[in-house]
Symmetry: C2
Subunit: 453 residues, 2 copies
């Protein structure tokens, strides 16, 4: 009798693990459980439908349940798993025990919920389920004011897009600037300006103290440490928390971040049980500290790693250097590994290399400024991290730098990198190389002064 | 008495060497000789002014002669060097001997001239001098038909831009497809379609046999192996040839390509004499074969290397992996190191990895297809080269891949690379990773079939 693989979760990690495990070993019986009625859509696109950048929610669907079934997967939609029994090797769904030989837990995340008074009022919206988003989008037409609680990535995307749509938006966050847990203040500054241009009023250093009831039991205002903000809706955009309750109850080892601990094959502490995606923690490439709450691309790659291991193909999920990027208002920001804020917080020493270049020849229409900041180890000058902001090419440059940093590239390497110069697509000087050259030149100045003394 | 550095040439290599050498050692007396009246403009932008993508030629000036003089450089404009005497350590300009302690030869390139009858007629235009381009641009308003001779990078840019401007353009080349010396036919195909959409008629496999005189001693038609093409102007866009006549006469060692031979510090065969830019040849990173005719970015970096060495700062110009890219019509193509055409021609074995992805989430407006082809060593799977075509992000990806290839990155490394997923700027799957994954999967198939047999 062929083996049975059960996958809990229909997001990027779960569908990757299920689809690839089946492809690698067609004899494997693969069952996917998801509590939702939909699969294979892009939640990351939802803020941009609200902002009318993307025409409709239907565009976000990348595949269908039938398509997965055609691929031979047993798809259990709207079916929550309520228990995992590692001894009997079963999961419980709809009060039925389902046996497995191998199990992948890709149960994703749940949004952190506020604990202040009024947190259970209607009108507090979380960006997660696409059907809820579709309903919410209809209501948006009759709304005038929104409060976004949390200047997190999703909070900033929602604020910018609701502003774009013409709503009056208040963005409230206790931190001193946008994305203050990861973003450096110099990079946050143009984000603030861009959000304001899109009709967003910023309230940093501001605590949410409660939600005030308006009409019909719905939220009518947000009580903050700096006064009351009337609103028709609140977007709650706090932290992502690993949805690891079942895994923990089943006895799997949970890490310090609350995510399931996995090895480089995405194996958990239990034999024949893998985990992937937002429910796990993985080591950071530079610091080796466990982190979680990464992107859909990371989730997919982790699910892929689990499938590789399940099929005996090898393949290792390396510690992550986390290229990241997003659009805030109409400004693009990104980075990799650590910025100054995080490096300082965890005590990683660094020297800075900064530069500003252009994305095309500066006289070519459409050229945008590209600001590059690199952090390097003081002695070896190996990359520690960096942040980039501007217009075009932020994503590709951050991907490049994460790859280079992982392989020990130094400021010297980047200062002498070759680059394409062709006026419509690239400037004579590559912004990354400019930053590295400036950094090296700045480092030499004290040395020269010393030699002269 | 302080030393004197003479720089021959006011292009990217010459101005980089002069400016940086002076900056590193302010006591150095630096003289720049150029036969042209202008300096520090971007010749690479000129086709796009003709195409009205860039508003005016004045936009192409990045600095002024006065600015260089303020920086302490002795600028000799419109002053051709007619002799180099390495024994007396002088150059001759306007019949005067000018002594040097150190010399940088950055005399650039000259366009290959056709040798068929009629090659000296008026109306054969070469894309080089900005004043000639300004004159030519005025004439273009009254012209209807242009023949572009040579489907080289500049030929393709001119053809696309003149087509854009509304001229009827015939592009004639003896090769079987556009850029047939470096571009692979699968990448040329969309270039052809884009050029045709811009009003360009393609004549590949077609020899130019002569230029036919029309009115007033000007060219009136091009005689080709497949018939006569009437025209108001011919753009001659053949090969760039190193402008090394004086260097060769002075006794410097010239390489097999006709370029001046230099070491990794851009030193020539003569003591105290450096060379940089289009006049030199440098080794290709993979094959170590000498090549030349690279970009302005390469020229600048070579001039910078010479300045580093002149000032005793070290710094090495490594063999080149040549990221390249350009817009053809409205399609972007690029690559690094070798494509299939060149790899086959010089006998470099390779396996292929191909994939197609998107530049943003595929549902996000503005997303363009990105076609990636990677060549890797059959045994180690280290990158040998590649070509990319599509819309956004070609330049950044080719820069990245050249950097990665130089450092020995493999298809495995790229298949597991991290990438940014954020709908407006990056898709869930990075096109480079898709190609690498596909390539690895294809390589496993014969192995699996063998195992089953």
């Amino acid at each position: 009798m062929s083996q049975r693989l059960i996958v809990i979760g229909g997001g990027g990690a779960g569908t990757a693990a299920a689809t690839l495990a089946k492809r690698f070993d067609p004899s494997l019986r693969v069952t996917v459980f998801t509590e939702f009625p939909d699969i294979a859509y892009s939640p990351c696109g939802m803020p941009f439908v609200h902002g009318k950048e993307i025409p409709k929610f239907e565009d976000l669907f990348l595949s269908t349940v039938d398509r997965y079934r055609e691929d031979g997967l047993d798809m259990r939609m709207e079916t929550a798993i309520t228990d995992i029994d590692l001894d009997r090797r079963t999961v419980t769904a709809r009060n039925t025990h389902e046996g497995f030989d191998k199990l992948v837990i890709a149960s994703g995340f749940v949004w952190e919920k506020p604990t202040v008074p009024g947190s259970n009022l209607d009108g507090l919206h979380y960006v997660k389920d696409i059907r809820a988003a579709m309903e919410f989008d209809k209501q948006l037409d009759s709304m005038r004011r929104a409060v976004v609680f949390g200047a997190t990535p999703i909070g900033i995307e929602m604020a910018g897009n609701l502003g774009n749509r013409g709503l009056q938006v208040d963005l409230v966050d206790e931190g001193p600037w946008a994305l203050s847990e990861i973003l450096d203040p110099d990079v946050a500054e143009p984000v603030h300006r861009s959000l304001e241009k899109h009709g967003v009023t910023l309230h940093f250093g501001t605590k949410v103290e409660g939600f005030v009831e308006g009409r019909d039991g719905r939220v009518g205002a947000v009580q903050t440490s700096r006064g009351e903000l009337p609103c028709d809706v609140v977007i709650v955009a706090l932290h992502k928390q690993p949805n690891a309750t079942l895994a923990e109850a089943a006895g799997l080892t949970i890490g310090t971040t609350g995510g399931i601990m996995v090895d480089e094959h995405m194996r958990t502490s239990a034999r024949g049980v893998w985990a992937a995606g937002d429910v796990v923690e993985v080591p950071h490439g530079l610091t080796m500290l466990p982190i979680r709450g990464l992107t859909g691309a990371h989730a997919y790659a982790q699910g892929r790693t689990a499938a590789f291991d399940i099929s005996g193909r090898g393949g290792v999920y390396d510690p992550v250097w986390i290229p990241w990027g997003m659009v805030a208002g109409d400004y693009t920001i990104g980075g990799f590994s650590l910025g100054e804020t995080l490096a300082t917080a965890i005590g990683v020493p660094y020297v800075l290399a900064r530069g500003v270049g252009v994305s095309r020849a500066r006289y070519y229409p459409g050229a945008t400024m590209t600001h590059v900041k690199l952090l390097a180890e003081p002695d070896t000058l190996k990359l520690v991290g960096g942040q980039i902001h501007g217009g075009e090419g932020v994503k590709e440059r951050c991907d490049f730098l994460a790859f280079a940093a992982k392989r020990g590239a130094t400021l010297e390497d980047l200062a002498w990198m070759e680059n394409i110069y062709s006026p419509p697509i690239g400037a004579l000087f590559e912004p990354i190389a400019i930053a590295a050259q400036n950094g090296l030149a700045a480092l030499q100045q004290p040395a020269r002064a010393k030699a002269a003394a």
